[in-house]
């Protein structure tokens, strides 16, 4: 379990979660990046950017 950094709601962190993975807070719906696994650290995920290279 981890606390959402926006609404402090509880967020379940599955066993196979990887660093850099994006998870959604079930309560406020914000997208968070799992910055580190041990210890669990969350940060707001970057804005969606669709523009891509070759």
């Amino acid at each position: 379990m981890a606390a959402c950094i926006v609404c402090e709601g509880n967020i379940d962190i599955p066993e196979d979660t990887e660093e850099g993975e994006i998870i959604e807070c079930p309560e406020c719906g914000i997208e968070l990046e799992v910055v580190s696994i041990d210890p669990i650290e969350l940060a707001p995920a970057p804005k969606e950017e669709e523009d891509w290279g070759e």
Partner: protein, 267 residues
């Protein structure tokens, strides 16, 4: 003025392309050529023990994950090998081509997107250290300086971020922006397929015509790299380009064929 984008996929015949373009230029048509190089880049990456990693954006767009080492491979293949040997073909045909990448003279400039969201192994992830971006500005003065002095610009899609860093950008969308900014009559996108196909497995399922107002509806037929070609087309059409044609770069006279509506015509 024609803007022509030729892909770097397997099977593309650069001799056919350069011979056809040389003939058209000699009839007084002004041309700007943008090229890709994905197949050669994949081959070199494998040889150097750094197989290419393709990532897919949240909404399904695929691109090459470009860390610094991959950017060097990108520069070597696109701006070194492919660019200069296209220029060589033109020089042998008596066409005074000048090969440039987008970073030269900030010919193509845009926003670097070093943090992105991708889907990998079914998981949504943040991807950092990617040197890619979107082209937003064109140095038209430099292009016209060369064109008006009789040179054929041959452009590789290694571009400049606003801070002057080299970034990998999508060649099709760079070509679309060039077509808009140059007020080109036509944008021709040549690749190793006859055009947009209803069914990618069946080359006879060619979609012959698309109304310019309905381009995005055809996104469903586009798989993998074709998605960005459709995206580029939509941007070109919105920017005022009157006609975009997708045609086959594996056969003789590919540009002349495109001009004769052999392929997918969007107008």
């Amino acid at each position: 003025m024609l803007v022509i984008k030729v892909g770097g996929g397997e099977g593309i015949n650069y001799d056919y392309i350069c011979e056809d373009i040389a003939g058209i230029i000699k009839r007084g048509v002004k041309i700007v050529l943008v090229h890709g190089g994905s197949h050669e880049a994949n081959v070199l990456s494998e040889k150097l023990g750094k197989p290419p990693r393709f990532v897919t954006s949240v909404s399904g767009y695929e691109s090459r994950y470009t860390d610094r080492e991959t950017l060097e491979i990108f520069a070597m293949v696109y701006s070194g090998k492919v660019n200069k040997f296209i220029v060589e073909k033109f020089q042998k045909l008596g066409i005074n081509a000048v090969g440039l990448s987008g970073i030269d003279g900030r010919l193509l400039e845009g926003q670097k997107k070093s943090t992105l969201k991708i889907i990998e192994g079914g998981k949504k992830k943040v991807l950092r250290g990617d040197n890619t971006g979107k082209v937003e500005k064109v140095n038209i003065d430099l292009l016209m300086l060369l064109i008006n002095n009789g040179y054929l610009p041959v452009i590789s899609p290694l571009c400049s971020s606003y801070e002057g860093e080299a970034i990998n950008v999508d060649g099709d969308r760079a070509a679309a922006l060039l077509a808009v900014k140059l007020n080109a009559d036509k944008l021709i996108i040549l690749s190793n397929v006859p055009g947009l196909l209803k069914n990618v497995e069946d080359e006879s399922s060619l979609i012959k015509h698309i109304d310019r107002s309905k381009v995005s509806e055809f996104m469903e037929f586009a798989k993998r790299r074709m998605k960005k070609k459709i995206m580029g087309t939509a941007e070109a059409v919105e920017g005022g380009v009157k006609e975009v044609i997708f045609a086959d770069a594996r056969i003789k006279n590919p540009v002349t064929n495109a001009l004769n509506a052999k392929g997918t015509v969007i107008n």
